[in-house]
């Protein structure tokens, strides 16, 4: 006769399965709500297009073709996604401390300028690997110093970091123009004021078999490292505590000032690296092409990813793809290039509004009576 009485082991097991399902149900909130937000933003944008007499279906088809349809468009997308990963990290790391930094573009510009400038005296004698190493460090340091200042101003003087970082972007642009049109200008280039090129043989090469440069794997690795730093170390824990409640963190004796400055410096270094890769892998020199808006799109990427470094990677690829298809959309649908900006702004608004639904939809709530 079969033993029908439930043994304690089985009871624990069913309980375990139930709990796991419950956990999945509750944590699926973090996937379902952003997906719903994407759908709502898409619907609103479709209404916008329909109102102008354009077909949303064409738009989607063109984004697919221009961003993800062929291996060529994938490469274009990934090349655009690379700086977005770095600049999004520039927003995401300070965001854990409750700081909203929107001037990552400034750190990118100065990182690129620093990398290109330090290369000028070294180009003649240094081997490519040494040159690139020094350039990367220079880019990181310039960015770290720039955004680190924003963090220091915030902590020691109470200067709002959002405004100061944006003002410092404009100052960074004038520094770039001053040097590039001034004594760092390459006299042999009559067209666009630029620094001396670092030389094709010194540039960051492509990953074998593709047209992609090594910036993408570097960005992915950096995301993983910073994810571990923010989620698995005491530094990250302290930063999150300070972001949750500044006064409580201070009462606990956490070095809030140091946390702020270091987080901002890390953030700036990420954006500086973006500038380094733009110079060392794309342009080969520093000029006004560095100001391409990657720093500003990075803000959107970070907010869409809810400041999670690992989620930044797919979101950056998604937005990189939309940006990559911009030219095609412009030509085929006769829409201005600002269409992508409208879509981004709409997406940004809807994602922010979706914050209000976390914890308020009954389906995702923990059951009453369970612990």
């Amino acid at each position: 006769m079969a033993d029908t009485t439930e043994t304690p082991g089985i009871a624990v097991q069913t309980d375990l399965i139930g709990n796991t399902l419950d956990n999945i149900r509750r944590s699926s909130e973090y996937i379902v709500i952003p997906l719903l937000a994407l759908i709502v933003a898409g619907a609103l944008f479709s209404v916008f297009l329909l109102a102008l007499g354009k077909s949303p279906a064409d738009f989607v088809a063109l984004v697919w073709r221009g961003g993800f349809g062929t291996s060529f468009s994938w490469q274009n997308t990934l090349v655009r996604a690379t700086p977005l990963i770095f600049t999004a990290l520039c927003v995401a790391i300070p965001a854990r401390l409750g700081l909203v930094i929107i001037g990552g573009e400034g750190a990118l510009v100065l990182g690129g300028l620093a990398a290109a400038s330090i290369a000028i005296p070294m180009v003649d004698w240094a081997p490519a690997s040494l040159l690139l190493g020094v350039m990367a460090i220079a880019g990181c340091l310039a960015g770290a110093l720039w955004i680190g200042c924003v963090g220091a101003l915030r902590y020691y003087r109470g200067v709002n970091e959002t405004i100061s970082s944006l003002l410092m972007f404009y100052i960074a642009v004038s520094i770039l123009n001053f040097f590039v049109e001034g004594f760092l200008r390459d006299p042999s280039d009559p067209n666009k004021p630029s620094t001396k090129p670092i030389g094709a043989e010194n540039m960051v090469g492509a990953i074998p078999g593709t047209d992609l440069h090594w910036g993408l794997p570097a960005g992915v690795a950096l995301c993983a490292v910073l994810y571990l730093l923010m989620n698995r170390t005491t530094f990250g824990f302290a930063a999150r505590v300070a972001g949750g409640n500044l006064r409580a963190a201070q009462a606990q004796g956490l070095p809030v000032g140091r946390l702020m400055v270091i987080s901002c410096a890390i953030a700036g270094a990420c954006a500086g690296l973006a500038g380094f890769f733009e110079v060392a892998a794309i342009h080969g020199k520093a000029n006004a092409s560095l100001i391409a808006g990657y720093g500003f799109t990075g803000i959107l990427v970070s907010f869409l990813a809810r400041h999670n470094p690992l989620v930044i990677i797919p979101v950056a690829i998604f937005l990189g793809g939309i940006a990559a298809s911009g030219g095609l959309i412009q030509r085929r649908m006769d829409l201005p290039d600002a269409t992508v900006m409208v879509l981004q702004g709409l997406l940004f608004l809807v994602i922010l509004v979706s914050e209000t639904f976390y914890g308020s939809l009954p389906f995702f709530r923990p059951k009453r009576g369970t612990s």
């Binding site: 200067v159 003002l167 100052i171 600002a338 409208v342 981004q344 914050e355 209000t356 976390y358």
Partner: protein, 307 residues
């Protein structure tokens, strides 16, 4: 050219520039001040400014009436303000982040619809001449003053008076200083903030229309260079006082005119930095005028930016 004449030219150009360049600063900062007095911060005024510039120019082009353009720019601005006010009402929605999103959205919409208006030229706002008494052409040119500038001064004085002396002023200040206190008085906090943000957007839209309809006087995508955000810093510097907003706007206008003024007399060395003067000045002023003790005089107690 002798040094003295050069200096006079620069000072005159800066004076003229202060009046011309300060007008958008004045309107945006008054709008931002009103919004912040009610306890919210709207960083989206940059987008509102750009959209106001575009819509004002477009309406002026189609109707031939620049003043109607100014009005429409204001109305568009208050629509953006209403969007901000409505979205920030929802729980857990951050007003600073919504502002950044609206900045992107407003600028994107302005560029989207503005493509068609880059080429055509629209009727511009007329100016009033106050310089008839002088023979000096520089002085006469400097005293060509736009009515919007005078309107801005009147608005600053009106806001200063009404915030201090009227019932509505008291309601706005109470809402900004303590939402619970306002609630206890039976004030609908969200309603007050919505209306204040809408009024703020209206002013910012007018400020934008000044850019495209008077100075520089045409619609381009590079029209605004962060004036909307600098106005936020300006409000902190002005300690949320409308009269101080006016003086601060003049100062920023003069700083903005420094680069072009020096170029006009042939000093071009380092002009990138002179062009960056308003940003450097703003940053410097913020460093000097804020404090980590966070007890800024006149700051609304509910404001997230000073908490």
């Amino acid at each position: 050219m002798t040094g003295d004449a050069g200096l006079t030219t620069v000072l005159l150009a800066m004076f003229a520039g202060a009046i011309r360049v300060s007008t958008p600063f004045l309107f945006v900062s008054l709008g931002e001040m009103l919004t912040e007095k009610s306890g919210r911060i709207n960083l989206g005024l940059e987008g509102t400014l750009v959209f106001g510039a575009m819509s004002g120019y477009a309406v002026s082009y189609h109707t031939g009436s620049p003043w109607f353009g100014v009005l429409v720019a204001g109305v568009c601005g208050s629509v953006f303000g209403a969007l901000h006010g409505f979205l920030c009402k929802l729980p857990k929605v951050n007003d600073i982040a919504i502002g950044i999103a609206l900045m992107l959205f407003g600028t994107g919409l302005a560029f989207f619809f503005g493509k068609a208006y880059i080429q055509p030229s629209a009727p511009r706002l007329p100016s009033l001449s106050f310089g008839a008494w002088s023979d000096h052409p520089g002085v006469r040119q400097a005293l060509e003053i736009n009515p919007l500038f005078l309107l801005g001064i009147a608005l600053a004085v009106f806001l200063w008076w009404s915030l201090k002396n009227t019932r509505y002023g008291l309601i706005i200040r109470t809402t900004g200083d303590s939402a619970p206190a306002a609630l206890a008085l039976g004030i609908d906090v969200n309603q007050v903030r919505l209306l204040s943000t809408m009024a703020g957007g209206f002013f910012a839209g007018i400020g934008g229309s000044f850019l495209s309809l008077y100075y520089p006087g045409s619609w381009t995508e590079g029209l605004s260079s962060g004036q909307g955000l600098m106005a936020v810093a300006l409000v902190i510097f002005a300690r949320w006082n409308p009269i101080y907003c006016f003086w601060a706007a003049l100062l920023f206008g003069a700083a903005g005119a420094l680069g072009p003024a020096l170029q006009s007399i042939g000093i071009s060395r380092g002009y990138h930095f002179f062009n960056a003067a308003p940003y450097i000045l703003t940053l410097f002023i913020m460093i000097v005028s804020t404090s980590r003790r966070r007890s800024l005089k006149g700051a609304p107690g509910e404001l997230s930016i000073t908490k």
